[in-house]
Subunit: 364 residues, 4 copies
């Protein structure tokens, strides 16, 4: 079990779906950054269930409490602990989970690995685990905004077979938040809504893709060879529940191009060297080049569905699972802030690492 | 610069394209494992240039020398240092690289990050850096084979627009090695060869996809929440040069399915619980479930092409780059062993971590 | 600021003297270990102020709350978060601390490092920070007891000029806890009490030495070359407030012996190889040899004293500090559990690391 | 086995006494630092055997070869690999080591931990392992000198019962190197020489203490709470072979003082705040305060002596060991550079960490 992430901007998350509380300890945040609970709450509110009819009807306020690390409204450089109490814990909803393995969930593998598990609401494998990440990510986002002017934006670009084809660089936070699905393209958003509604009606679920678009990334970030930015992002995103894939820049589609069509040609002038195209996705050799960072994350359809499903119990006996809990027919709208969170945590960490060494012995 | 990888099976790689040597120090290998230089050389030979007409004509023997960590043919539990001297260093081939930024290479970003760079042959951003990884990976593979019976196999499943549709679980090492492209499907292999030849003839390059298929993975491997197996694999693969994407199990395509079609249903009997399908790719909740591990890695077309390309020099002045070096029109055949290497390093690391805690306090 | 400790049994502590709460997140504890809040509270009670007339008169219940990581009374293998709310926060006691630098405290260096500081009660540099360590240490102790039968005992062996000369291996927990000073030698204990009382009467403070004695240490623990057991212990103890020195086995006194007098000679029989003497302190080459682990930690006299002291304010202006807070004239009685805590954290971590690799490829 | 050290200035050492080579990979050195092999060799020459009649008569040139990480005489920011081939390997000198456990050596514990060991010359537990450290430490020293003007000096302050009482701040490198014992006090040096000669004549060995004195330490270095400077130094020094103790500032002797006598009082003026005394040893709350860093490291007498010693073989049978190898009757003169090395590695690492965050959000 490794619930620690980051080298210089380090988090340790904790908490299960139906335990007393979930949260995070953030270690390594520089001193002097102005932070309030409202800064944290804003991102938590984008993650929490019950936001609208597309998400699970569970109502959880998810109110954050900052226990340490602030003084006079600013970070002191000491660990920032943030906790959200678990309040809505109707555990009777999850009766079957105690005895049956839910398909494409982590019930079986947790038993395999740990010998037993907290079966209430998925325990640690519940998406509720991500609350601590989001709280720490809110601090990372503020750090990046204040230190580099970097804004991190993600949105839903595909749900089931519905895709938007807008230019990621044109999307705005307002557009994203104006959509129930968190897709900035109103036409596609409407069709995505319909796809989600249809799945719910069929007691089924859908998956999709989230696009990340960071327009104002600082250059020089990323630590070759193993901590290339794309490697750290890939790991960060694939650590989110329900993720199945990652691509940066041209991604899988780019594998079909020839080099002459794929290469990003440079242009000047000096001090403003850039590339004509951005199939690299803002990263070359693992290091940001100052162009926008563009990547995409694949989320599978929600594993919990209301239809009866064939499965087995712990002893391998065949059984039928009838899931009764409240769940999202599509996790993507609520996962947008998770993708932003992980990107912020990665960038804040690598930004501090770059700062440790950069400019110490200037080039002659 | 972070050239260290792994927590319990830890490697530190070093070396540039045209420096004195490249290599690795592997720390944390358990004692008692029988290892010879031949074990290492076998994998290095699959990586080295000049294997056949599809790869770069550079001839480098890449002979490994084990400097430490073995006694009487077995690992002692102390660090294993392995070095390959650089011999074929025709640095005059790379004249333009000193002044011009090669498109979609790391020249510009290395200058941005480090202030200057070793421009000979790409320096540290050269694929030659991967030699140390392969050497350590060979030890990881042997460890996994001896300890778990795990065999790691990868192959080229797509080059440009040519794809094989074989079932990954039917591929064998013999089939893979019998193909110049390292595609176990002879028909697709022939068409891939043709695509590569055509690109070379056009002074161009092609990309593609490598499929990983681990049929005999141990269960219980992977450390939620941040060191889920898929997260560690994603990071590992995206740390390889030229990679642009990763997917596991159903991947991006799976995002278009509904949950009812995507979920992997369980079957018994007890002690042999498995899943009817494997869209999860062998991992649920970040932990292996004993089903085969299946994932895919996207490689962009080789950035170095012989055609003239528009670019700029360090001062932002426009220029035309005429690359003269010897290079691969397609990196995938030589990258197969790199994908296997990274998978082995990840699995060995997580296997040791699982071993640290598993079964200490058996379930009542 | 690095408040994370351990590699496989990893803790992240948080909290300031006068913040909302202090605590810890413990990641990496194996599943299946029976733990209750009472197990944790027992060690916290040995650390808390107000235990008796020798310690600070501050009364703080320091009641622990376990937020996560347990199910059905056992660890699940997921992070264990433990929190103690801060209740007795009479911050008006510490007025001068806002403007003046307390001699031999961390006020000046925190300002130097972080730009400003939480001046209430010493903030993060307060000994209150150690609460999280003790809570996690209680879990480590239980793990070691259940897994290896290892009991960790420390006691006060010196206060000011008063020393006990008892054999550390004869000390018992009952004897230690029967003494207000936590010295198992009644005669020395009485003289130590007198020394502390005299210091308090003089508005002064005293320091001393704590002896660690682990009689039942497992063999083979410690990871050469940098994570030798003595190196990890030294770091752990020197991370405690007020510590100034560490020695293991013969320590500084042993530097005056010749090799012929210092070496620990081996005796048999097979399977029970041991040493006639134990100047090594239970560790050879950084690895435990099965003999008792014996080391000593030096604590300086409490920096806070009630006498007026010359100092400066933040602007360098001369001033006189009159400390009014409640404080311990001698930290050692309450620090005994801290030494035990750090030893337990180190041993649990290295025990898991040894478990990861040991016996995988048995010697032929 | 953990042969990696440091977080941002990271080393991985390798090599056994009688393997092919020993060395190090240094990762994380900032780019642009001018380094030559001569810089490294200078420190290696202070470590190597055969320097004069006080050290082992083994002659080993210990010539370093830098394999990577430099270009045009400067560090590129990529890993710096440095290797020293083992040349003088008269393994027939060590015959008994194959079967008998040498008292107070690591033979028994290596067998216990790893199942078997490289018995030639002590294998990895040989002091020869420190060569890689010294090579990396030479780079750290140059970094600290160029970046902070910090000079690191250590010297032998005690051998057996002979102590020097000079003020550590008066010692110079020239004085230290002018003494065969590396004690800057000529009178004490002569008596130390005599003590060593007497021990050798008696086929015996002596131990002692090394004093570290860093006069020009930057302020603000050290990461509370677990990476306090004294904690990192203690760990670093106790990771050296033959060390038994560490103390900083007033150390063990300071435990006998009262607080009023021990506290370091502050003086101004602003911008030049300092302390009248330095019992803190340059560190308060784990962070450097700009005063000199003063600490001491205890080394036991050399375990290898030429006298016959009682011991056992692997099967527990009693035996008599007659060590025939060439060895130092006193390790301290050659260990001075090791203490400097570890101090440099710790300071460089913590200096980079401080640089990562300091001044990012300046105090208002």
């Amino acid at each position: 079990m490794s619930s620690q992430f980051g080298s210089l901007f380090k988090i340790a998350t904790f908490g299960e779906s139906h335990g007393h509380a979930v949260g995070v300890v953030l270690d390594g945040c520089p001193s002097g950054l102005a932070i309030t609970e409202a800064d944290i709450q804003a991102d938590l509110d984008r993650r929490r269930p019950g936001q609208n009819r597309l998400t699970t009807p569970r109502k959880e306020a998810d109110t954050v409490r900052i226990l340490s690390g602030l003084f006079d409204g600013r970070t002191t450089g000491t660990p920032i602990a943030m906790v959200v109490e678990n309040t809505d814990q109707r555990s009777h909803d999850y009766g079957d989970m105690q005895t049956l393995y839910r398909p494409s969930h982590a019930d079986f593998t947790y038993d395999l690995k740990y010998g037993f598990r907290d079966f209430r609401g998925g325990g640690r494998s519940s998406a509720r685990e991500t609350i601590g990440r989001v709280a720490a990510g809110a601090v990372a986002r503020k750090l990046l905004r204040e230190a580099c002017g970097t804004e991190i934006l993600a949105y839903v670009s595909q749900v089931a077979d519905v895709e938007t084809t807008i230019d990621p660089l044109t999307a705005t936070l307002e557009q994203v938040e104006a959509s129930l699905v968190r897709c900035p393209d109103p036409e596609a958003s409407a069709r995505m809504e319909a796809a989600i509604d249809a799945a719910r009606k069929d007691q089924d679920s859908v998956g999709g893709v989230i696009q990340l678009a960071i327009k104002t990334a600082p250059g020089g970030i990323g630590e070759p060879v193993f901590h290339r930015l794309e490697a750290e992002l890939a790991r960060a995103f694939l650590s989110l529940p329900a993720t199945k894939g990652f691509e940066i820049g041209s991604g899988f589609a780019g594998t079909r191009l020839r080099g002459s069509a794929h290469n990003d040609l440079f242009h000047g002038p000096a001090g403003h060297i850039g590339t004509d195209t951005n199939r690299s996705g803002g990263v070359q050799g693992g290091i940001t080049n100052g162009e926008p960072i563009l990547c995409r994350v694949a989320f599978k359809p929600t594993a919990t569905i209301s239809q009866p499903q064939k499965t087995v119990d712990k002893n391998g006996n065949e059984a039928v699972l009838n899931a009764k809990g409240r769940h999202d027919p599509c996790v993507l709208p609520r996962a947008v802030v998770l993708v932003e969170t992980m990107a912020a945590l990665v960038l804040a960490d690598l930004f501090l690492e770059q700062r440790a060494r950069h400019g110490l012995f200037p080039a002659r």
